[in-house]
């Protein structure tokens, strides 16, 4: 057993000696959690609007109403507005001409220009903008209506309306989102989902790119030297397998701990989460062994490792949540270990599940681990026999 541990330790040391890991193992995953998590806000914007026009009461009123409606507003010039809409940076652009501002101040009808981007959700944002603009004109409507009712003093009207605003609370809209998606993601912290998907993506990716150390070891004759020492083939294979597992576990545990400490990510039951990470890492270790034996070229191994990890991760829900997949794609996703890991973390993080609740997912992952590790070991044994 000491020999096995010594080989595994040497593998982990070789992996940590690679300076690129400072970026790809320690910095990049957390940057991704932060970047993607920042966009996962329960009170996300309803859309973006680029507004252009000189400073005026109309502009202030419009922006205030748009922001109340949950729109993100940027002020820019005419060219900037059109550029933002053309490139989709803004869903909708609004031009407030000087004449419109003057008409609004005079309490008369006014004309605005609305430019919609080509994306389909721009229609919804345009409706929000129209409704917000209508709301901005209501105060003027109140004043004109009271004037029409025979009140001559504007000062009296304004004072009376201010008191009425204080005494008449507005009718409010309460939105209850009962859609399956909303129910599924309810209770998740801002960074919880992206942290778990990043963990799945990077644990697998790091394990697969770690296959390069196995390719190097075979190429540089390290494997031959190991076989020349008093170590059996079984011990050498177990050591290599444990080395891959150590690399995957190292990455996963780092993301788990760092995201918990920095972003307050909730991983649910710690025992269940740890077991899940261990079993998922076993699958990754098995695949890493297969790549490490089948590929002889380091660059090709690295390319295949990165490419396969990204492709399998995307299919398995590590880039876009599985809940957004079609039924067919969701069935396809479950051929990947990521999808089972995703479902298990969903149970732990969203529904406070425990070890027993994720037994089906653990069972499937364990079966995958047995198959990949057995195949990896068989391939490595064949390679060792050739080395001898």
């Amino acid at each position: 057993m000491r020999s096995v541990l010594a080989i595994a330790e040497a593998e982990l040391k070789r992996f940590n000696a690679d300076k690129s890991n400072i970026f790809f193992v320690f910095i990049f995953p957390l940057a991704l959690v932060f970047l993607l998590g920042s966009q996962f806000t329960p009170s996300g914007t309803a859309g973006t609007v680029a507004v252009t026009g000189p400073e005026s009461g109309l502009r202030v009123a419009l922006i205030e109403q748009m922001e109340t409606a949950g729109l993100e507003v940027t002020l820019t010039d005419e060219d900037g507005m059109r550029r933002q809409v053309a490139r989709g940076t803004a869903d909708v652009g609004v031009t407030i001409p000087e004449s419109a501002a003057e008409d609004f101040a005079a309490g008369t009808d006014f004309a605005l220009e609305l430019v919609s981007a080509s994306q389909s959700d721009a229609v919804a944002v345009a409706q929000l903008v129209r409704d917000a603009t209508a709301a901005a004109t209501l105060r003027e409507g109140q004043v004109i209506a009271l004037r029409g009712a025979g009140i001559d003093s504007d000062a009296d009207i304004v004072r009376a309306l201010e008191r009425a605003e204080d005494s008449v609370a507005p009718a409010r809209l309460v939105v209850r989102n009962q859609s399956g998606l909303a129910r599924e993601f309810r209770g998740l912290g801002q960074f919880d989902l992206t942290a778990s998907t990043t963990l799945l993506l990077f644990t697998f990716l790091t394990a697969l790119t770690g296959a390069v150390t196995l390719i190097q070891a075979r190429r540089d004759g390290v494997v031959k030297r190991i076989m020349a020492s008093p170590v059996s083939a079984t011990q050498a294979i177990a050591g290599q397998g444990l080395g891959r597992l150590a690399i995957a576990l190292f990455q996963g545990l780092y993301i788990m701990l760092a995201s918990w400490l920095i972003f307050g990510v909730s991983w649910g039951d710690p025992v269940a989460a740890s077991v899940l990470l261990l079993v998922f890492s076993l699958v990754a270790a098995g695949v890493s062994m297969i790549v490490g034996v089948l590929v002889d070229n380091e660059s090709l191994g690295l390319g295949l490792g990165i490419g396969a990890s990204l492709v399998v991760g995307a299919i398995g829900g590590a880039m876009v949540p599985l809940e957004f997949f079609s039924d067919t794609m969701r069935r396809v996703a479950h051929f990947t270990p990521h999808a089972w890991g995703y479902e298990a973390f969903a149970e732990l993080q969203r529904r406070s599940g425990g070890l027993f609740d994720i037994l089906p997912e653990l069972g499937v992952l364990l079966a995958m681990a047995v198959v990949t590790l057995a195949l990896g070991s068989w391939l490595l044994r064949r390679s060792l026999e050739r080395a001898m």
Partner: protein, 395 residues
Amino acid sequence: MTNLSKLLAMVRYDLRQRLTDGSVLAFAVVVPLALMWVMDVVFSDATDVELQPITVAVATPADDQLAAVIPEVLRAVSADGELQIEVREVTPTEVPDLVADGSAGMGVVVPPDFSTALIAGDGPEVEVTIGDNTGIMDQIVGSVVRATLAQLTAGTQAATAGVELGVSPDQLAALGQAVVDEAPQVQWREGQAASEQLGFQESIVAGQAGMFLLFTVGFGVLAMVREREQGTMARLLSMPMPPWLVTAAKGAVSFLLGLISMTVLLTAGSVLFDGVDFGAPVAVGVLILLVVAATTSLMFIITKVARTAEQAGIAQSIVAVVLGMSGGAFFQINATGLVGTILALNPVKAFIDGLGVTSGGGRVGDLGTVALILGAFTALCLVCAWLLPDRKDAL
């Protein structure tokens, strides 16, 4: 043997070596194409936002004139144009079931005594329930209901102010409607902006091609670092030819590999995926030349900075991933202001923006800003590489 023939001989030899190298094929063609396909299959469902017809179950208290305005306004919105909203007036107890079983996409429940509560200043709450598969219609319906409530509130406040100001009771009743009728009306003029936005599939193809280009061009120039380590660079420099020829040959290999990769990826993307059309081939060709030049020039800086092939590989990977992801290889980062300006200077982002121009019908002459960014990026990188110490003689 002229310098040109020596250059061509080196390029031919290096190019043959690279093209038969499996790792070049993996980074330049196989992996990006595989990612394009997977992202297309997986993400197209997630980004498919449609403006679909919706049924809204609305429950209003009987004989409540103010509450009755809400279903009326929803019907009026539907009658106006492209939005299709079917309003079903039901009882409050029916709403949750209709939304739950999918008979209605949304439910609106106006509480009993809505008008009384509003006039009394109690701020009644109207409950909107969102069901499954509403797309973006839930935002639209929610906005319409919210705007209607704002109008009803404004009318009630005007009536309250009218009472204080001594408006006669027969005029008070009409005051609420007058607020809406007399408010300045907005005439919306539909403006136009050039379409410089790539479609979903086009973004995937352009983004992946741009990111993996940064890996592909490294196979030529960064080979200089490996040759320095192996000692073959010293042998090359001792040959009877100017040292700059070696650098030029490596640069040409990178440039050609980049051209081949981009041409294959964009052509394959256009053929394999629906709705991918980057526009005029000449303009797209100019863009490819510019972005390949920009990314190749960046590799010269890495060659100067990196001491070993391992360091060069690390730097290249970091640059590729950071520029690729911030440039929009996986998702668009919609930033404005200073951050937006910095992002626009990224060659991958400039390339995607340029393809947006060409896909919208733009020609070579319309690529001004993008061409300027890519040209300036290339010049800046080459100057930096020239000025950086270490191996100045090789450049």
